[in-house]
């Protein structure tokens, strides 16, 4: 099993959700986060005073998947979240040791 985490631009979230649903992904967890990478922040002006705002709002998706789906899911997110501009975000995958479905007590693959 794998945990796919993606940090994407907020306005691409709907595209990503639709693409993942079409690819058969049944569920995910979403968090509103802020951070920065190469995109850095931006400048805001309040009564003539400039502020460098270093943190940019992003959406973080977390999806638990079967090993076999890794390539499909990562490709789907990458394609749907991309704009070709700096700041599109990142997708990474880490192995998961065990999963339990709280309601039924099912474990691992049958809990996904």
């Amino acid at each position: 099993m794998k945990l796919v985490t993606a940090v994407i631009k907020p306005h691409k979230w709907e595209d990503v959700r639709e693409a993942l649903a079409a690819a058969g992904v049944a569920g995910m967890t979403l968090t509103e986060v802020s951070g920065y990478g190469r995109q850095k922040g931006h400048t805001e002006v309040y009564r003539g005073v400039e502020y460098d705002v270093s943190l940019v709002p992003k959406i973080r998706l977390e999806i638990l998947i079967d090993d076999a789906d890794q390539e499909l899911v990562v490709e789907t997110i990458t394609k749907a979240a991309g704009t070709g501009k700096i700041g599109d975000g990142k997708v990474w995958v880490v192995p998961v040791e065990s999963v339990v479905r709280v309601r039924t007590g099912d474990t691992d693959e049958s809990a996904l």
Binding site: E44, V45, Y46, R47, G48, V49, E50, Y51
Partner: protein, 426 residues
């Protein structure tokens, strides 16, 4: 009694009352999230303190029979002595006049609080409000607003100097602005000023506040005609013109300087224009109000940068908007007051551009400087004494943690239910 006049003044009073909560939203949005409640409470507490002292002695000190030289009213109307529902001031019941004038005082002292955001003990502020009203506002309002009546003598600026100030460019705006400068100097800069970001935490609140202030300002300015008449109409149209033109003026400066016009600039510009038209709304023409608005909006947009050059933390730009805007409006009367409008008022001379020469400008300068210097000086003394006796500042640790939880045991926003523990019941 004139029922038309009375109706308008009853409505105007309600409009002016709304300016103080409006100011609380205007200022509250500008501070950081950790101090918004304290910022709003500094305005709201004025709604509690000022009416009480106004009834007891403030009205008498301001509108009571002059004690001589036009400097201060007497105590003949202590506790509103002798005023009944049959009493009249002009064509309206005196009770209505008492409340209408009270509301000016409430918002004036609340204006000062913007200079000392985020860092002042609430107890010290609650002492400052009545002391400042007593030693600064009541005398100055007497100078400017108390006209000689059938039975009472009024203040020197209104009756001897004949400066023109319909709604309080001097007594409200310059007064609050000069006091704000003094208090900002005494209280000192916020921890982290110029080093840490202190951007407004809620601009929609600032815009809401600006809208409520503008709404209330119609009562403030057009109500200052003290009747439902042509002067009220003139004040109404001029208030509109100046607010509009000043918003454009401020935004124009931003577009040239910062590339974009900001919502914060739009709100600030409108207020700067409303400040500047406050003294002048009864003496200039509607086209004059547009000139005053454009000047006030653009000048104030630059004036707010002064604090960084001079190094004082007037946190929410009370000096840059109210002192500077008040000066712009008060002095431009000396250029833009029209013959017709001055004739209607029955005193003063028309401005330089309307054939009146420099006489009226001179009077305006004397009024503005007198009020500014008196307010700055006395406020500096009051502030110093309170700072010595009680201490104005909360501790640095409390200031950094956030003044709301320290001074009010509350926080404004429950972010994601992150507070822990249940209520202590029973």
């Amino acid at each position: 009694m004139n029922t038309g006049d009375t109706s308008w003044m009853l409505a105007s009073s309600a409009l002016v009352l709304l300016m103080t909560p409006g100011l609380a939203f205007f200022y509250g949005g500008m501070v950081r999230a950790k101090s918004v409640l304290n910022m709003m409470m500094m305005s709201f507490i004025s709604l509690a303190i000022v009416p009480v002292i106004w009834f007891v002695y403030g009205y008498s000190m301001t509108f009571g029979d002059d004690r001589g030289h036009g400097l201060i009213g007497g105590f003949g109307q202590f506790g509103l002595h002798g005023i009944t529902q049959n009493s009249l001031t002009g064509s309206i019941p005196t009770y209505v006049f008492v409340v209408f004038q009270l509301l000016f005082g409430i918002v004036t002292v609340a204006l000062i609080s913007g200079a000392v955001a985020d860092r002042v003990k609430f107890s010290a502020w609650a002492v400052f409000v009545p002391v400042w009203m007593t030693l600064v506002y009541f005398p100055v309002a007497h100078w400017v607003f108390a006209f000689d009546g059938d039975t009472v003598k009024g203040g020197w600026i209104a009756n001897k100097l004949h400066a023109l100030d319909l709604a309080g460019g001097t007594a409200v705006e310059i007064n609050a602005g000069a006091a704000a400068l003094a208090l900002a100097l005494i209280v000192g800069r916020r921890v982290g000023w110029r080093r840490e970001p202190m951007r407004p935490h809620n601009l929609p609140s600032v815009l809401l506040g600006a809208g409520l202030l503008w709404f209330g300002w119609y009562g403030f300015n057009a109500g200052s005609a003290l009747g439902a008449n042509g002067l009220a109409g003139l004040a109404l149209i001029n208030t509109t013109g100046a607010g509009a033109a000043a918003m454009l003026g401020w935004l124009a400066v931003e577009v040239v300087r910062d590339k974009k016009g900001t919502s914060f600039g739009a709100a600030s510009g409108a207020i700067a224009g409303l400040v500047a038209i406050t003294p002048s709304c009864g003496s200039v023409s509607p086209m004059g109000s547009i000139v005053i608005g454009l000047v006030a909006g653009s000048v104030c947009a630059y004036a707010i940068g002064l604090k960084y050059k001079l190094g004082f933390d007037d946190s929410l730009d009370v000096v840059g908007v109210h002192l500077v805007g008040g000066l712009v409006g008060t002095l431009l009367i000396g250029l833009l007051a029209t013959r017709t409008n001055v004739a209607h008022l029955g005193f003063g001379d028309s401005g330089l551009f309307y054939g009146g020469g420099l006489t009226q400008l001179g009077r305006q300068v004397v009024a503005a400087v007198s009020v500014g210097v008196y307010s700055f000086g006395i406020t500096y003394v009051i502030g110093t004494v309170i700072d010595r006796l009680i201490g104005f500042r909360v501790s640095e640790e409390d200031e950094v943690a956030g003044i709301d939880q320290v001074e009010h045991l509350e926080t404004a926003y429950d972010h994601a239910g992150s507070s822990t523990g249940g209520p202590h019941l029973g």
